[in-house]
Structures are given as structure tokens and as C-alpha cells.
């Protein structure tokens, strides 16, 4: 098994904040010394003790008009694991992700077959607003709302367009969400700061805080770091790994090194099909499928 060397990537793992443990010794990749160790070590410290099935995707196919974007995909989504969706552009990763909270419905002409369940309930039978509070999402572009940091989070906590409950009541919950997203320390003394004045990385963490404020079971991330600098990327990667025990995480990424660093499981998609779904070590170390191997070694995509 010979992996072609990707171009050198700046190591993101530093010793200053999170001591990163060695990957398990039984890893194939590292055992024979060809592992992509220079892309950064996995941020996870072994498997999480928790593994709760949250969502189940069963034979899902999604089409935009006549164009099929996702083709009979089945996979589980578990709390305690980070699932990364990888694959070349236009392979259906984002469509699959958006199907999980039915955001695909917003695009006209979308049709889908198959079933997705959340804690055993078919999501098609749920109220879309209720579903989206349990399966929240963070986007590629940091997109805080044009209001204060506090209001960005409080907006999620309040009922629809209501202005109630008042600030004082929500303060604790808002701070909690900001804390979970690792932003509280930076904004604690000025929660009325305009969200659009934050830096890009802070804005993205605010978006994560916003998504966490609803207390979701599943958190969807659509290339959350692609618009960010390496430092902010590192912060968010650390955060994702930290969050995996509280909430099931699905992340779409074009950055294979990132998938390697943070994911427990990886799903490789190609032309709408799920080519391979396996543990990150397997996908990056000894993939079963030829196409997976070619993709992760940089032969195409």
C-alpha cells in the first residue's frame, strides 16, 4: 500500500493548548510508516466511550429535477463520533447533509426517496421547524445575523419572532452556548458587540454557539473552516472534537487532512454514491475501494 505524498501542510497541532495524544499503535498507516503524519495527528484521543445511534439514513436518494444528486445512501450517525463526508465537488455531500434537516426542501424541484430517522422517528413526519431545532447547521460562510452577539444566540432561544423571554432570563443560556462554542472568554465583557464586527473565526464560532443554543442532538457542519485562516481552523477543529460526546457531528469537508484530524468515521462519496463508509483510519490507511484510495492519495478530485 503506497500513498502518494500530498504537498506539505503546515502542522496545526501545537503543544500550547491541547496535548495531542499519539494515535493508536495498531493503526495501519502509522505501522508501516507511510501514514500522513505530517498533516497533523488526529485530535481525538481514541474512541469516545459514548456511541449512541441518533440518525439513520436508509436508501436515501435525492434529485434536483432530473439530476440525481444522492443515490441510495445508507449510513448511521452516532453521538460520540465525528462523521466526515468527503468527495470531489458535486458528489452530493452537501445535499446529503442538507437532507438531514430537510433544508433541501427549500430548493424548488427537489425530490427524494428513502428514509431518514432521528431517534427512531421518520423526519419526514416531523414538523420541519421542530426537526431543525434538533438537527442544527453551520454553514461555509460565517453568517451571523446583523445584531449583537447576545441577540444572535438569544434569537435561537426565543419562540419564533417573539422578543420574550427577556435578556435577564436568557443570560445564563446564552453564556452557556457561547462557552460551549469556546467564544465566551473573548466576548464576555461586551455581549452587545455587533456580531458583524467579530473576526471571521469568531463569527464562525458564534454561528456554532447559535447552532448549539437550540440544544440539538445532531450538529451539521458544511465546510465550516473553508473561509477561515489556519489558527481559527485549529480552534474550530479542537472544538468539534470536544463536542462529539454531547452531540452527533456530521461535517462536510474538502480538506482531507482535516477529515483525518477530526473524524472518527469517514464517508467517501462519488457521483452521488456512497463509495465507502469506514473508520477514518481505514479510509486513510487501507481503503477497500480503489476509488477511495485514488481520491485520498490525491489521484483525482
Amino acid at each position: 500500500m503506497e500513498l502518494r505524498k500530498p504537498p506539505p501542510v503546515r502542522r496545526l497541532s501545537g503543544s500550547e493548548s491541547v496535548p495531542l495524544r499519539q494515535p493508536p499503535a495498531d493503526s495501519n498507516a502509522h505501522a508501516n510508516g507511510h501514514g500522513p503524519a505530517f498533516v497533523g495527528r488526529p485530535r481525538r484521543a481514541g474512541a469516545s466511550p459514548i456511541a449512541i445511534d441518533r440518525m439513520q439514513v436508509e436508501q436515501l436518494s435525492v434529485a434536483y429535477g432530473a439530476k440525481r444528486a444522492v443515490d441510495s445512501v445508507s449510513l448511521p450517525i452516532r453521538q460520540g463520533e465525528v462523521l466526515a463526508l468527503i468527495g470531489p465537488s458535486g458528489c452530493g455531500k452537501t445535499t446529503l447533509l442538507r437532507s438531514l434537516n430537510r433544508l433541501t426542501e427549500l430548493t424548488r424541484g427537489t425530490s427524494s426517496t428513502g428514509r431518514i430517522t432521528l431517534d427512531g422517528t421518520d423526519i419526514a413526519s416531523m414538523e420541519s421547524t421542530a426537526l431543525r431545532r434538533r438537527v442544527t447547521m453551520v454553514f461555509q460562510q460565517p453568517n451571523p445575523f446583523p445584531m449583537s452577539v447576545f441577540d444572535n444566540v438569544a434569537y435561537v432561544l426565543r419562540e419564533q419572532a417573539s422578543r420574550r423571554p427577556k435578556r435577564a432570563v436568557l443570560r445564563g443560556a446564552v453564556q452557556d452556548a457561547l462557552g460551549r462554542a469556546g467564544l465566551l472568554e473573548e466576548v464576555a465583557d461586551d455581549l452587545d458587540h455587533a456580531a458583524l464586527r467579530l473576526s471571521g473565526g469568531q463569527q464562525q464560532r458564534l454561528c456554532i454557539a447559535r447552532a448549539l443554543a437550540a440544544n440539538p442532538e445532531v450538529l451539521l457542519l458544511d465546510e465550516p473552516c473553508s473561509a477561515l485562516d489556519p489558527r481559527s481552523t485549529k480552534l474550530i477543529e479542537d472544538l468539534i472534537v470536544k463536542l462529539r460526546d454531547d452531540v452527533a457531528i456530521v461535517i462536510v469537508t474538502h480538506n482531507l487532512q482535516q477529515a483525518y484530524r477530526i473524524a472518527d468515521y469517514v464517508a467517501f462519496m462519488y457521483l452521488g454514491e456512497l463509495v465507502e463508509y469506514a473508520s477514518a483510519q481505514r479510509i486513510f490507511g487501507s481503503p477497500r475501494e480503489r476509488r477511495t484510495k485514488e481520491y485520498v492519495s490525491g489521484a483525482f478530485g
Partner: protein, 323 residues
Amino acid sequence: MSALGASLSPSQSPPGRRTGASPSWRLSDRIGLGFAWLLGLLFCAIAASIVLYFLIEGIQYLRPSLLVTNPTASVNESQTGGFLDPLLGTVIVALMAMAVAIPTGIGIAVWLSEFGRPSALARVTESCIEMLAGTPSVVLALFGTILFEAPALGFLSQTSRGIVLGQSFFAASAMLSLVGLPMVVATVREGLQVIPSHVREASYAVGKTKIATTRRVLLPAARPSLITGSMLGLGRVIGDTAVVLLLLGGTLTFSNANSTPVLGTLRGTGDTLTGYIYYNAPTGDGNQPSKAYAAAFVLMLIVLALNLGVDFALRRSRARLWN
């Protein structure tokens, strides 16, 4: 910087803006640039001369007393009084017209930009608004005269011997709101459309409905265009003459329909500053140029104040998004 932030940021000069032709330019480009400069300066000069002329002409006839005395009909110019009534008329008409145009306009803009279903109806509405924007106000006024002479709408104006007069503040304001409406719709709609779709999706993705998203995210984000649109509409309403002459009566003073305090006035006829200027222009029936100049000066001051107000409000609402 997020995409939303970028789209809301104050206008930035385009990169690489240049003021002079570079030596490497072709001759035709240099001549083109020269023309652009010349025309720009020419229009500046025209605008400045209009403003300056009326400032100078107007200010020598403007007496504080003109603002507080009622106009009177007289051959002697010194006894024709001031223009208190037209001034108040302008204020009343502007307030009433915009009270209708702003909420309606925002509603239509939100519907067109955010809902737009059924799409055939949305397209028709769009064309109607565009048509309205292009309709001369005198045509709207003419339509208004037919509409408000209908017996069923008699309660909005005066009725004499069974004939509905059809001229009143109600009638004029109703038609003037149609003059201001297209401005509000176009500007607010544009303001909503520059908000990237992923901002809407971010709100849906935490379980918010379309209504809640519009109310709490989109309209606040579009506040600057909301202010601009309202002020542009208001400017057109204040500046309109045709509707005032045909539907407000163009009477020198307020002539109340009856003695009921507010309703009587609104059902009665009156005038606005534009109507007053029309009447007193050198070629008008009144022919008292000094009064016309003074009134024009006041009207321009109002418009200028409105512009400054918009600037201030925009700065503040941008600051609110950013601070």
C-alpha cells in the same frame, strides 16, 4: 468579513479607481474620459445654479411672517398674505400618503422578494408596480377624480346638492401614496435581495419560520434601504403638483367640509407648496413671483432637510448593525 457584512458595508470606492488618463491610454479613451469629466462638471454647474438662484431669489422675499399668515386673494401683492395653509397642506398630505405607502410598500416588497408565490401573480404584481412607477402623476390624478366622484366614496370629500366633489385631502393623499409606493417597493426589495440566501438558511436551520426570519433577521438587515426607500418616496410625494391641483382643489386656504375639527379639514380642500408655487409663478394665475420664489425656497429647504435626515438615519442604522 462575512458576505452579509460586505453587502451591508457603506459604499466603498472600487479598487483601482483613477481620476486621470494614464499615458498608456489610447487617444479615443482619453477623449472619452475628458468628455465624462466635462459632462460631470456641466451637470454640477446646472444643479448648483438652480439651487443658488432660488436661494438668492427666495431669501430676499422670505419673511418669517409668510410662514405664519394665511394666504388672501388680493390684487395688491403686499396684501396677499403668507403661505401657512399650503405649508401645512404639504405636511398633511405627505404624512397621510406615506402612512399608506410605507407599510404597503414594505409588505409588497417582502412578499415579492421572500414569498413570490404563486409566481404568476408575483410577476404580474411586479409589472404593475413598474407600470405605476412610470405613470405620470397627472394620469393618476385624472383617475382619482373619476374614482372619488363616485357616490360610494362621497364620505371622503364634500357633497353639494347630491354631487360628490371628489376633491379632498383624503383623495389627494390616496393618489399620492401611489406616487410614493413604487419607490418604497423597489428599494426595500433590492435591500432584501442583496442579503445572501445562506443567511436566511441559517435562520431556518435553527428552526425558525419564514415569517420569524423576515421579521427578526431580514427586515433589520434591510433597514438602511427601508429608510432610503421611504425618503425617496416622500420626496416624490412632496414634489408632486398634478395630483394636488386636480384632487386637492388648489384652494388658497383650507376650506373645510364641515366644522368637525380634524375630519372636516381632511374632507375639505386645500393646497400644498407645489400648488401654491404653480399658482403664483410668473405665468400662473396668481402671478406673484416673489411669493413663488419664497415658497420654492422653503420647499427646497424641506427637501434638503429630508436628505440630511436620510443621511443621518442611514449612518445611525449602519452603525447599529456594526457597533
